[in-house]
Point group: C2
Chain length 379, copies 2
Amino acid sequence: MTIGILGGGQLGRMIALAGIPLGLSFRFLDPAPDAPAAAVGELIVGDFNHAPTLRRFANGLDAVTFEFENVPVAALERLAALGLEVYPNANSLRTAQDRLLEKQLFERVGLRVPAYAPVDSQHELDATISTIGLPAVLKTRRMGYDGKGQLVLRRKTDIHSAVATLAPTAARGNSPAALILEQFITFEREVSLIAVAGKDGSRAFYPLTENVHREGILRTSRAPAAGVSNLVRTRAQAAVGKIIDTLGYIGTLAVEFFVHDGQLLANEMAPRVHNSGHWTIDAAVTSQFENHLRAVLGWPLGDTSLRSPCVMHNLIGDAPPLDKMLGVEGAHVHLYGKASRPGRKVGHVTCLHAGPPRAPDTTQAAARAIDRLILRSQA
Amino acid sequence: MTIGILGGGQLGRMIALAGIPLGLSFRFLDPAPDAPAAAVGELIVGDFNHAPTLRRFANGLDAVTFEFENVPVAALERLAALGLEVYPNANSLRTAQDRLLEKQLFERVGLRVPAYAPVDSQHELDATISTIGLPAVLKTRRMGYDGKGQLVLRRKTDIHSAVATLAPTAARGNSPAALILEQFITFEREVSLIAVAGKDGSRAFYPLTENVHREGILRTSRAPAAGVSNLVRTRAQAAVGKIIDTLGYIGTLAVEFFVHDGQLLANEMAPRVHNSGHWTIDAAVTSQFENHLRAVLGWPLGDTSLRSPCVMHNLIGDAPPLDKMLGVEGAHVHLYGKASRPGRKVGHVTCLHAGPPRAPDTTQAAARAIDRLILRSQA
């Protein structure tokens, strides 16, 4: 069977690395000729909006999914119109691409969210600030990722040019000033819940992951997350289950939360495998990548239990020397085959216990050693 | 970096699946255009003995290894003469390809072996039987694998045509009747020791694996192996360390033993990653495939500890339905992308504990469930 993936980045690469052992073949569509997934399948270089390219991509595929949430919804609709099974569906992608629709869905399924309001002009922004107050975060409704397309407004002077600053990004979302203002949340920690929804209605949830961002980019994830009660976790799972029901969602779905006073506030969702779930390759019984494929293909979902606690560090901009990283016992290195560039995710390292299972846990020592290598490489 | 691998079978495919996350690229040379490794690298279809093909294969490689022990030693020598680093070295391959040289090396490093003698004619066979006795096993010195190229001699009537029967296989080894007669060992169990030898003299050993063969083909491996004392294991490691020293061996090396009266008798070695180490993908801290690459590239070896006990079942001839196998929790399925054919290894399944680590171990239940699926598919 050949699976088509829209987007050929590291997420596509890792989906294929999980799927090749299941006997699957992969075809990717990506505008970049050096897309990381080219190492593990056929790469068609082209535009997601170009109908003949989509037809060429579609030819002979058994199913289609995507690894990048900014692919055009129209591409999914065109592929579905060609008779292909496309998961997650177009409506799930449309909702996840728009922070306003996303927040409205979160509220509908009973998740708490920070106060928010849509903002379409500088005039509306001024008015909205007066109800939501400062600090606040102004975000483009669409096309944001890794902290791009957002501004924190702390003082009145930050407000004046905010709409103009974000207008170019907002315009890429095809709606000149489609913005959203959100209350700035002072949180104790950020966590994410990664769910998998099968075709037969089956559900699976990975243990909550605790995430640390810097400059809008995920730096470190830890599983399991600390400081969230079983009750809060169970409620979050139930709400995410309702999102899945509402959207008719199939595949892996990530929802990010702020933890504030022990309660979860939903921040955003990603209709795909997620960076905060990369640890599942090395430390869960079944990875998020394999489970995404199982879901999309209608196969039974795999067990999502944690095999051992772990810490994942992202490699941002540049990677420390590989032999140094491999010298850290229990460090599992994943490079994406990407050239170095500031702010770019070029790999990740999952740190686990090494040595016999009953020996004292070495996870934290490995995580500290990798962290030191990262700091040194960026000094 | 691009690594060249002679042979494009499932072992090459799994080496690449371990190496792509380390940022490596792969090129394979194999006579078969449908070689399983084509999914994970560039495949050059051609003959190992063809010098222009070897030069094309060699162009731009950073290192060379092999995944099939019947590649011609001359191919390794030619590649080394082109200035490439080739590991394991040609002498290691030459020794492992010849059951006589292999047995002599085992004895030299202090390993016990079954009684044996080289046999070059029917006349010599008759004479040798009188010292070694029956039952005995007559094997070709070269080109045997998966039980091919050997005959068990139980009765006097088995002896008469034995040399003639094996002559065609022996001839593929370029020596018309190069055979070896070995004492038939009634063993309690078979185990294998997988070692990794780094360029800097570092050594690592995986836990002993217990293996069950049927019709000369590995069916099931269990790690850790039962019934071998720490002392016996430590001595085996020391002896394998001496093999590594003697050969100047670099890479992953497997040695198979019979267990007889609690003692190990060395049977044969494979100068490569080994089927009885496939479980290391899912159940060791570092897999044999990743460690082979670390060794060949001069990187630090990874921890070889068992993360959890496991059972590996080979899929021989045909695989049970994939969705049925994936429905067994804790079953990790590895298919090689090969067409079904009697006696052919088309995949393997590693069974591990699923569910939280502290829950009752489900490994054996998963292994039994997969075994039932295999039996049903072969009924």
